[in-house]
Symmetry: C2
Subunit: 345 residues, 2 copies
DNA sequence: TTGAAAGCGATACCAA
DNA sequence: TTGGTATCGCTTTCAA
């Protein structure tokens, strides 16, 4: 007890910080620390009377649990990491929002990491994240360096890849096929009778892959009059405008422009309007992603709809299942996509 | 030593997880655990030879530090929490991106919390965050409930408020004055000779406050012909369109429309274009925020520029100073704003 | 420059 | 239903 007192003393001396501990609560409630712990984590394993006493002590002291200590002891942090290319890209931010809200409901918090910054190697990012011992990780895409794969697999925690599909995921994957999208857009465009196609694609791995697939497939429809345009990676409206300017400069004058994001498509639309080019009569536009604003605002833009709410929630559910029951129904889940035709393309 | 061996045995038995510990590294390097710890945290306090041995052992074992244990022992988590209304709102996401990158460089990670979801009380969110024992917290806005203030202050950690200004911050604040912005926009509009003003404001606390200040100030210029329009909080293009539709329905036909965000302003522009209303000749538009896309893309939209990169970095720097040196130069930092006039408003 | 011992604040396991 | 005790993996303090 003397020891306990001296500990107390030192604590308050060190700082007045929120160092109310389980022990303080236990003492006030007249029970043991483990009982307080149970009252917090498994309230129904504690007698109602005891629970009341403990809860009173908790609110009297303003106790805030220390998840560092809890996580260390239990090896469960209730922390999930999510690695996305960029937080300022709406499509990723939205997916993460659905992912997070699902996990929050289940009592987890999400730690975000941005991989889109080459200055910081993805490996360093993953190391930093693993050092917090998350219970699971969400990854964007399937292209991880060998070092990253090693690190991730060595951690032996549930992993969910998203935004792509592969028969050989690291663990489980919830995504869609960029190849099939490229082909579907090609088929759509061909079926609509277009013979001249322009592209405005971000210099992003997956965008480039969709474009390649699109072009290959167009060839099988006999469509080879293609004007390609590549713009730097973070897509924004201005780059969409530039994209169309380049296509026009390169001789593209009418037909359909396929863009690698709705933002680019929107930029193309703005540029077309500013030049009094009629959309979709002279130039039709196809986007990608189905950003939330698109449907109501641009009746003239077709797009590829990715059900991001579903992807986000599903990724969360799959991860939770792996964490809590170690279950996996399917390792590979295809959330699919849908071509949304708008206007009179 | 026998004890140490038995511990080993149990560990590997429990799971094959990344449970390489400092002890494992120390054993392999033939030094004590504390030396490995020093090699990691204060490399220059360790002899070069020892350092080399340790580093070799670290890479051989694939050791990943456990920050739960480290944070528990040192009371420093190298974790900073940031609470923003929504991750899908570009203005907040951008600010956080600058904030994060600065902190990442300094060896910290950022834990994001979204406060814009009334289902989860802000107090619960703050509790959840505090239970991870962050070294500091960024808050958006200055309106916190009494309970939240109590929780935050009890934690006794550095706090930085942003996106607003007050003479009585919880700790330090880096922001700008919504009141002065409202007045400045009013002065700007009056100086340009407009006599009829419409507003499209999100039903958001700060947006509403700017609108109120704007209108009050307009009155001092003798401008009272005001048509107000309020739209639900998460601003998007469609709501901007709706905003203009309402103004027109309410009899507004020409003049200037002041919007509470650039997104709304953009929506107003789209609606105007679709009705063949000339901008800015018939209707001029003023936005807010200076979203990155605005400058290049909409030469016809004026806006209020908030230097978000600067605000984000400054918030990070101030927090770092408080955390690492316990220094505060100024408690209140006004990052200001600037009215950017575009087109021939 | 290096190490031994004592926590940090919680939970797991086994008894009572 | 409740409690004692031994960790979880690291850093701090104090010595050597």
């Amino acid at each position: 007890m003397a020891q306990s007192e001296s500990r107390q003393g030192r604590k308050s001396a060190r700082n007045g910080n929120s160092s109310v501990t389980l022990e303080d609560v236990a003492r006030l409630a007249g029970v043991s620390t483990i009982t307080v712990s149970r009252a917090l984590n498994y309230p129904d394993k504690v007698a109602a009377k005891t629970l009341a006493k403990v809860n009173r002590a908790i609110s009297q002291t303003g106790y805030v649990p220390n998840l560092l200590a809890g996580g260390l002891a239990s090896r469960r942090t209730r922390l999930i990491a999510a690695i996305i290319p960029s937080i300022t890209n709406l499509v990723y931010a939205e997916t993460i929002q659905y992912f997070s809200s699902r996990l929050n409901d289940a009592g987890y918090q999400v730690l975000l990491g941005e991989s889109g910054y080459p200055e910081q190697s993805e490996q360093k990012l993953i190391s930093a994240i693993l050092s917090r011992r998350p219970d699971g990780i969400l990854l964007t895409g399937v292209n991880h360096s060998a070092d990253c794969r090693r690190l991730l697999l060595a951690a032996k925690i549930p992993l969910v890849e998203t935004w792509d599909l592969t028969p050989t995921p690291l663990d489980v994957i919830v995504g869609f096929s960029h190849e099939r999208i490229g082909m579907a857009v090609a088929d759509f465009v061909a079926a609509k009778g277009y013979r001249r196609v322009g592209t405005v694609s971000a210099s992003d791995r997956r965008a480039q892959f969709r474009e390649k697939t699109l072009i290959d497939r167009l060839a099988t429809h006999g469509i080879t009059d293609i004007t390609r345009g590549e713009v730097p990676a973070p897509t924004d409206l201005h780059r969409g405008r530039i994209g169309l300017v380049r296509l026009l400069d390169d001789g593209f004058s009418a037909g359909v422009v396929c863009c690698s994001s709705d933002t680019l498509a929107h930029g193309v639309l703005i540029e077309a309007q500013s030049r009094a080019i009629r959309v979709p009569e002279e130039i039709a536009i196809v986007g990608f992603g189905d950003q939330s604003f698109a449907a109501d605002t641009f009746p003239a833009l077709s797009t590829v709809r990715i059900d991001r709410p579903r992807m986000g929630k599903l990724a969360a559910d799959v991860l939770l299942a792996r964490i809590e029951d170690d279950t996996v129904d399917e390792q590979v889940i295809d959330v699919g996509f849908e071509i949304v035709e708008r206007g009179t393309t």
